[in-house]
């Protein structure tokens, strides 16, 4: 099971899309939950419902909204191989706050009282660009090849922060600004004062990405500093690019057989020997501007809406190729059979009625036949108020593709007023689509000496998982009825029906001559010039012959006096009742 709470959107362009962190820790905004159950098929939904309710109570979040069948879905060959017991649901609009972080921290052995988690200063976390807390739970009875037995809980908190750049004074001749220097105390306002007693290991890792290492090496070459070849071999003081305030305990270099460029470097700091009297405060001061870019996924994907009006629209997913191709696939680009595979998994709620037959694919601006690009397609159309629409596509683009796009048309549905959220005019969210590149694995292998225990971080980096990216959450405005009008609408409609019912029965009931009698009676009651003219006019309009009023018969006057008497009696009773009931 994996549950993640995320606030903010991972910027794949600037923060990377190819490394293990961005593939496993970059999550869609809001809450994402997927779970694989090991129960018989008919009990999976009930188990899912129990799970959502339990998690909702545990984490003070509205995960219980995921229990209704309109919010979760299953998928066939998505990012997790499953045998039908997988359920996936997201809540894009869920806001994340400290009330969700606190239960998450409670699951840690030392909570946030000791160890590394004592660093977590709430204001600094929530001031960042992106923060995501993630829980990953595996039960080894489920796994056949689990190393540990029992239940393994893995918790990850991913925060992207910008250090304060007050101290940026030096500008260089090349007009590029120096990167902001940071330290743990400047970002979090605290220092690490020792490790958690219950923890087996407590380490801090600093990773220098490939691009940065290349930049530093170029800088070294430019400055013509002689000495040992690369940056990390102990000679940190010679490093022209940056300076670390604490000397790392160990250094790992990536074993890199894939790229021709340089490899990333990992520094390890062990918190064992630090305490309250000797706190750990790692700081990095930049000395020279370096520009580097993070490794990105082979295709940068984004999703947007097209169309206007509240009746229909189009969802479009666009891919742009990034620089990865040129370096990575240069060997293969020339071949015609080289194909770049991308898997798309998209769930749309039921009120976005997507027409899957309108799927169109454009490669490099030219429309392509679906069969050329789409290798496999699995569609589960939505059912009104019952299940969302699920689409899984396996696309194969030619390796030299520059840009590609998919469009899908949809109609917007109409909801009952109870189904609108409190802020109905904001719109509704279509959850993120998942784009997977199964041909590219994000795993980094680091050379390590045999004496040390295998650290969990390194084994995490070595896990083979495909490159994953999430698209944006789309906001779709739907037409809203007038929320202030339920009584009015019900009353007016029922009036119309009563009008129909009453008039038709009245017409059917009338007997011969009764109408003329009624007309005569009403005409006879009138006296005076003006009513006579009026009755003449009304008779003319109705196309009937006008008869001059006759003298009122005794019966009619008797009836009218009886009526007046009745009215007086009823009024008297009402006054009497009112007076005596007070």
């Amino acid at each position: 099971m994996e549950l993640s709470f995320t606030q903010g959107r991972w910027n794949y362009d600037r923060w990377g899309g190819f490394d293990p962190i961005s593939s496993s820790n970059a999550k869609p905004p809001g809450v994402e939950l997927w779970a694989v159950f090991d129960v018989p098929k008919d009990q999976v939904d009930a188990s899912w419902k129990n799970l959502t309710h339990t998690l909702s109570g545990l984490f003070c979040a509205s995960i219980n909204f995921l229990e209704s069948s309109t919010t979760y879905s299953t998928h066939e060959w998505g990012f997790h191989p499953s045998s039908g017991g997988l359920r996936y649901g997201t809540l894009p609009r869920e806001a994340v706050c400290t009330e969700n972080l606190t239960p998450w921290l409670k699951l840690l052995p030392c909570r946030d009282k000791a160890g590394l988690s004592a660093l977590l200063d709430r204001p600094s976390i929530y001031r960042g660009f992106y923060h995501s807390q993630r829980l990953h739970l595996t039960s080894s009875e489920f796994h056949s090849s689990g190393v540990e037995s029992g239940i393994v809980l893995e918790q990850a908190l991913t925060v992207v922060l910008q250090p304060n750049s007050h101290k940026m004074s030096k500008t260089f001749s090349s007009e590029t600004k120096l990167q902001p220097s940071w330290s743990l105390s400047s970002i979090f306002g605290r220092k690490v004062t020792g490790r958690c007693i219950l923890a087996k290991t407590s380490n801090v890792y600093l990773q220098l990405e490939r691009g940065l290492v290349t930049g530093l090496e170029n800088l070294q070459k430019d400055n013509m500093i002689t000495g040992p070849d690369h940056v990390g071999s102990g000679g940190l003081k010679d490093n022209p690019g940056f300076e670390l305030s604490v000397r790392p305990d160990k250094m790992f270099k990536e074993v890199n057989s894939l790229h021709g460029k340089s490899s990333s470097i990992l520094y390890e700091y062990s918190i064992e020997r630090y305490s309250v009297f000797e706190p750990f405060d790692l700081g990095l001061t930049w000395k020279f501007p370096v520009v580097w870019s993070c490794p990105r996924a082979p295709l940068h994907s984004s999703r947007f809406l097209m169309g206007s009006g509240n009746q229909r629209g189009t969802i479009a997913i666009s891919f742009t190729s990034t620089d990865l191709e040129e370096g990575f696939l240069s060997a293969n680009i020339g071949e015609e059979s080289c194909k770049l595979q991308a898997d798309i998994f998209q769930v749309v709620p039921w009120y976005i009625k997507a027409y899957y037959h309108t799927l169109r694919v454009f490669v490099d601006g030219q429309p392509e036949a679906i069969t050329n690009v789409v290798e496999k397609m699995h569609v589960s159309p939505s059912e009104d108020k019952e299940s969302p629409g699920v689409m899984e596509l396996v696309l194969k683009f030619p390796c030299a593709v520059k840009s590609a796009a998919l469009t899908l048309e949809f109609d917007k549905g109409f909801l009952h007023i109870d189904e609108y959220p409190p802020d109905a005019n904001q719109g509704f969210d279509i959850p993120s689509a998942v784009i997977i590149f199964p041909n590219f694995q994000t795993s980094m292998h680091y050379l390590e000496d045999n004496s040390s225990n295998k650290s969990p971080m390194l084994s995490k980096f070595q896990e083979k998982s495909p490159v994953l990216s999430y698209t944006e959450v789309l906001l779709v405005p739907l037409t809203t009825p007038d929320f202030s009008m339920p009584y009015n609408v019900i009353t007016i409609t029922c009036t119309v029906f009563a009008l129909y019912f009453g008039s038709l029965l009245n017409v059917l009931r009338r007997r011969v001559g009764e109408e003329e009698r009624i007309l005569k009676n009403s005409a006879s009651k009138k006296a005076g010039r003006l009513p006579q003219l009026l009755s003449r006019l009304s008779a003319k309009l109705r196309g009937k012959e006008w008869e001059p009023p006759q003298s009122p018969s005794t019966s009619s006057s008797f009836i009218s006096s009886k009526l007046i008497l009745k009215v007086f009696i009823v009024a008297g009773v009402a006054v009497f009742w009112q007076y005596y009931s007070e």
């Binding site: 109409f414 909801l415 109870d418 009825p481 009008m485 409609t493 119309v496 009008l499």
Partner: protein, 394 residues
């Protein structure tokens, strides 16, 4: 099943835009021809019954308009029909089925009537109430003045002839022409053919939807959908907004009430108008078009066309000009309000709903006034016949 064949046809003829409309176009033209034939039939039968009642002077007093031709032209040139045709809706096919059934019933062709009724009920549920006028049409024959007049006439004639032989002879001569005797043979014939067609259609449907869940699933998704108003998209009716705003607790109650409104009126109308079964069918069609869960302009096209068949009897209808202007006004305003609400976002749902209410009110006025005018026409005939009887006696 029909939809399947229709879509098959449409897919094959998609390249040529015009041909996509071919089936609907043919349906419209066929409907018009059948309306014309029915109108002529009705007019002939009515003329015969008037002659029998010796009220021919009434018919010659004013110009008798050829109601069949007028009705056919009104149906073909009605903007609603044209709009339904252009929009590739299936309403023309449904209208054709209803008209086929009524034509068959007028001409006492039981297989055709049964086929039309079964197809109309299969396509949309509401024509099921037309079984009553159709049984009356098959039993009694086309529209006639009220039965009482024939009975009065008969007694007058019997009273005139003193001898018994002449009386029996008169009766024997008049028997086959008496339109107030209910003949069961065509009805039984019709019911037999109905059951045959019903079984045929059900078997075909069952075979074609076997892999999708069987017949029960088909009924749940088609008739169940219509009866429970699942989809709340705006349309020309009043039920969509109502069921978008009604509280869930009362939803079933109101569903029963609204569909019961259609069912409740069947009996009083049948009792009052049993001598005019074709007009009864027309009134049923108007009521079901007005109160059905998803009305459309195609349904209005049908009853506006059939209204033309009664131009002679409904000549004195009140508010006819008001209704005409009202229909034009609503059909112009309604798309504007829809656009304002959904495409531009400057309007409100209430604007569009107001036009739908106005449309419903217009239809109510049409029903009530047409029934009232027809009953007035009957009263006039009765008065004339009574004066004739009095003249005959003196």
């Amino acid at each position: 099943m029909v939809l399947h064949c229709y879509s098959h046809f449409l897919a094959h003829s998609l390249p040529k835009e015009l041909k996509g409309n071919l089936i609907i176009f043919c349906a419209d033209v066929a409907s018009a021809m059948f309306i014309r034939a029915t109108g002529r039939n009705l007019q002939i039968a009515y003329g015969q019954s008037l002659k029998f009642l010796d009220l021919v002077k009434l018919s010659e007093k004013s110009d008798i308009l050829p109601s069949g031709d007028i009705a056919a032209l009104v149906y073909l040139w009605n903007p609603f029909t044209i709009v339904a045709c252009v929009g590739l809706s299936t309403s023309p096919v449904e209208n054709l089925a209803i008209i086929l059934s009524l034509y068959g019933a007028c001409r006492r062709i039981a297989p055709l009537a049964a086929f039309g009724w079964v197809m109309a009920t299969h396509l949309s549920l509401y024509p099921v109430i037309l079984i009553i006028p159709m049984i009356l049409l098959l039993g009694y024959g086309p529209d006639t003045p009220p039965r009482k007049l024939f009975l009065q006439r008969k007694y007058v004639e019997v009273g005139d002839t003193p001898s018994n032989d002449r009386c029996q002879q008169g009766e024997a001569v008049d028997q086959p022409e008496l339109p107030y005797v209910f003949s069961w043979r065509p009805v039984i014939h019709f019911l037999f053919w109905t059951s045959l067609w019903l079984v045929y259609v059900l078997v075909l449907c069952g075979v074609s939807v076997k892999q999708y869940g069987g017949l029960w699933e088909l009924f749940k998704r088609t008739y169940g959908f219509m009866l429970t108003v699942q989809d709340l998209s705006p349309n020309m009716g009043v039920l969509w907004y109502f069921f978008a705003e009604v509280f869930d607790f009362f939803r079933n109650f109101f569903l029963i009430v609204f569909h019961g409104n259609i069912l409740f009126m069947i009996l009083p109308l049948a009792i009052r108008l049993k001598h005019r079964p074709f007009f009864l069918a027309f009134v049923y069609i108007v009521i079901s078009s007005m109160l059905k869960s998803y009305p459309s302009v195609g349904d209005s096209a049908l009853y506006l066309g059939l209204l033309g068949l009664f131009v002679n009897e409904l000549a004195d209808m009140k508010f006819s000009f008001f209704l005409f202007c009202g229909y034009i006004g609503v059909s112009l305003l309604s798309p504007v309000m829809h656009n304002l609400w959904i495409w531009r976002g400057t309007g409100n749902a209430n604007f569009y709903f107001a036009t739908a209410m106005a449309y419903a009110c217009l239809q109510i006025i049409l029903v009530v006034e047409s029934v009232s005018a027809m009953l007035n026409h009957d009263r006039k005939l009765r008065k004339l016949s009574a004066t004739k009887v009095l003249d005959g006696k003196t």
